[in-house]
């Protein structure tokens, strides 16, 4: 479908919705293509591809928003969708409490820069890479099962609004992982390459996956899985921990990214995801962390899954300071939420697809780098643990009390990794106290982007891809233990 055809679909629903009484209308034709491969012990176990196309309509009647979407792109179905959006808007307008401002128009395009389109790489080439990695893992005694996963995702959106905005974007993501399950010593342990679950899924082409060197990493992964079956449980107590980038990115996600979503702060997500401890009176003064902590919501970071040209209500991508020298100073927001605080949108209104209403979502929420190397950080620790790769996560409905478990803990004594590892590490904390104990952040050379493909929020549920750039970071006086 050509851009002009997509815009014509948008124009049709906008015309119908305006005729139904809407005072402002946005329409998005969204096309999503995804390839997913799953490997088990060298076999291609699952080969899925999907191609999703539909149109979403957001209509404003009085001060109420209504939404509709359909993948039946015939004239009558489009008209039904347009009317449904206005009908829904009339229903929400009855109890709407605040004036909604119609935005100024923005037009433009965005496309992910990449070297090699992941959809153009043959299945044979991808499978050969995973087969090589699996062979290396399976060569390690006591490895019982090996797994691997690949995903490529393309999201192309054409946005037209009744204020004259016209935008066209094409975002491409690619990522993957390998993992080994070892069964020995009466235990079963899992170890993954640098990031678990979907692997590190970044914005870019196939080169982003190759850069992760899954093949080169495979034997280490397998050996550590086996070693974990013989390892002691992580000792209980309070200690210094260093979080490596993969785990730290999820720590940022759960204890910073979600609580700074302004819709959550206003109670609009309370029924499902919960609220936030960061109420508006905490703006510009609350100590979120130690003075080393600087966090930024940035919809422009290279490789970041949360990078784009415009968010899904047409606001151009922005960079918004969240925490400056430890002090809380900004939220993730869309236009309406930001207006309640007299601020500008942080370009964070995003939707999973055409079938979902845009809501406040993370872009790339990054921890700015400090100085020195990861080795320098380790060198400063007398007695502690280096924790790597997430296994489980949970945080309360105000985003305060959290608990994470990781795949592995490496012992640090007198500034060095001793070579001893512990299994099933868990650490606990309460968000501002935890970030207040931040005692060191490695520098730009250790800083990298971590992509999370499956961030869930909203009701009906929405899954979206977000990014967190960070470098390994030290936290003191942290409660750790094991199950």
């Amino acid at each position: 479908m050509e851009r002009s055809e997509r815009e014509a679909l948008c124009e049709r629903v906008i015309d119908v919705a305006l005729a139904e009484g809407a005072r402002y209308v946005e329409a998005r034709v969204v096309r999503r293509t995804r390839e997913t491969l799953a490997y088990r012990s060298g076999d291609l176990e699952l080969s899925n591809v999907y191609r999703d196309v539909g149109i979403g309509v957001r209509a404003l009647y009085d001060n109420g928003w209504g939404y509709s979407g359909t993948n039946v792109l015939t004239g009558p179905a489009l008209d039904r969708a347009a009317r449904a959006a206005v009908q829904s808007a009339r229903a929400t307008a009855i109890t709407a409490k605040r004036d909604v401002r119609i935005p100024s128009a923005h037009s433009g395009t965005y496309e992910t820069p990449m070297e090699r389109d992941p959809f153009e790489v043959s299945l044979a080439e991808k499978t050969a890479m995973f087969a090589d990695a699996h062979a290396r893992m399976n060569s390690v005694p006591d490895v019982s099962t090996t797994r691997g996963g690949f995903s490529a995702h393309r999201q192309a959106s054409t946005f037209v609004a009744s204020n004259g905005s016209r935008q066209d974007q094409r975002v491409t993501l690619c990522g993957g992982l390998v993992s080994a399950i070892a069964e020995a010593n009466g235990d079963v342990q899992l170890r993954s390459s640098r990031k678990s679950f979907e692997g590190n899924t970044l914005q870019g082409g196939y080169e982003t996956l190759l850069a992760q060197d899954l093949v080169g990493d495979a034997e280490r992964v397998a050996r550590e899985a086996v070693a974990l079956t013989a390892a002691d449980p992580t000792p209980e107590g309070e200690t210094t921990i260093i979080l490596d980038g993969s785990q730290l990115s999820l720590q940022i996600h759960e204890s910073v990214g979600h609580p700074i979503e302004l819709d959550r702060v206003f109670g609009e997500e309370i029924s499902l995801a919960g609220a936030s401890f960061v109420l508006p009176e905490k703006l510009d003064g609350f100590e979120y962390g130690s003075n080393l902590v600087n966090l930024t919501a940035d919809a422009t970071t290279p490789l970041g899954p949360g990078t784009f040209g415009f968010d899904d209500e047409g606001t151009p991508a922005t960079t918004t300071p969240i925490v400056k020298d430890g002090k809380f100073c900004g939220y993730l927001s869309g236009r309406d939420e930001a207006a309640r605080l007299g601020r500008e949108s942080a370009s964070s209104l995003r939707a999973e697809s055409w079938s979902r209403l845009p809501i406040v979502r993370m872009v790339n929420v990054n921890l700015e780098p400090g100085s020195g190397s990861k080795q320098d950080l380790i060198g400063g620790v007398e007695d502690g643990l280096l924790l790597d790769v997430n296994k489980s996560w949970s945080i309360d409905d105000l985003r305060l009390n959290f608990q994470f478990s990781c795949e592995i803990a490496y012992e640090i004594k007198r500034g060095e990794l001793t070579g001893r590892i512990f299994k099933n590490p868990i650490y606990y904390g309460v968000t501002p106290r935890f970030w207040g104990n931040c005692a060191g952040i490695a520098g730009p050379e250790a800083w990298e982007m971590w992509g999370w493909f499956y961030c869930g929020k909203g009701d009906p549920g929405q899954i979206i891809f977000v990014g967190h750039g960070c470098a390994p970071t030290r936290f003191d006086n942290i409660r750790v233990g094991s199950t």
Partner: protein
Amino acid sequence: MTDSVFGRAWVQERLHHAVSALGGEVAGAEAVFRGTEAHHSRIAESTLLQAGQIDEGRLTLRAVIDGREARAMTTDLSDAGLALCAQMALERAKAAPRAAEPRLLPAPRSLEDQSAACTDAATASLDAPTKARWLAEALRAHEKDDLALAGRFHTGLVTTAVYSSRGVNSFHQGSFSDLCLSALERPAGHLASAYRARFDAAITESDVDRMWREVRDECVRAHDPQRIDPGSWDVVLAPAAVTELLEWLGDIAFTSKSVDDGMSFISANLGERVTGEAITITDDASMPAGIGVPMPFDVEGQPKHRVELVESGVAKGIVHDTQSGQKAGCQTTGHAQIDDEFPASGSRPAHLHIQAGEATLDELIGQVDRGLFITRLHYVNGMIEPRRAVMTGLLRDGAFLIEDGKLGRAVQTLRFTDSILEAFGRIPGAGGVSRDVEAHTSWFNPRTCHVAPYLYVPGLAFTSGR
């Protein structure tokens, strides 16, 4: 009768068209249609915050060639869209390496069309203006009391159909209503709150009326929640809390993948006691208790059988699709899955039940000298140590002290971390399980429905607070 966008004749014609588009090169072809026509409404801060209508139909084609297979899904249901989908499935199946276990399509099984019995036309078409009318008094009453009413009220029609070259031709349509309401002191989430939910094939205005009055009254009772200390607490879990644990158990233990990987507690313990005698877990999509939303077949068009997973505390088995059944030397149990967002292979239970016991809720609470009544859990995660079913999560909305067998003051949140198998092992027989059950769904997936009673669980380990 409903005014469905995805009517039977149209859906079946699209499925036939898609299978035909694969042509004669394939040894087997299967087309699955999953349609949702949903009216979503979301309530927050005592307003109708969001409302929308989504018509979404997904068609997934599976091509099998020489024992190899690939799936392609499309929402472009035009002739051109289906042709492209067929081309993608075909190309990928041809390119796939030969699998160690040849891929098979199942033969057809006898199935009755239960759509009429499963569809409440009024619920299927309940739109935003009607919901706004039904909720108007609730919104006003909460606002008047300076309480925030929040929740979701999603209704609609789900269509599932399967057609294959082996002769499978299954069709089902059913309505659903997913209503959850919370009443909260302001600022919402920071003070007292209460919660109720129900998931059913039909709903009426009086159901809504009853629920909002219950949450408002309970929120008033929950005023000024007290801080309590972590440690071992005897708890009574309400069905909404139990079904969340049950869903996690399903994912970590009863899927074919969890068993294949050796990560399930079932793997090494078939026929062994894994939890308390009071616990019998089945998967039964027929919804025998007469509540919830039934589903007669899976995405291979195979009848969903009742499967005993844990019987009186003893591990009995897992659910299967055709492939995993073949590997295990048994028939499919009708539990094939397709998940476009979180692709996974193998079988998965979607209609779990814990068998009801003999106690009333008052009798359960009456057994507790000092403990907690837990309405709902928040952010449960069961991936910590799946082989022991170690899970963590938090209290949320309407958690109360129980003192001397009676409900007392509301309490603030705490985090539990415990082996759920070991915790359920401490339930004192059928007297620790209620006779009343409730049906709940997961995070808006109207094809998932779990049913559970109230449970009295002594000594649940709470590990931290705020």
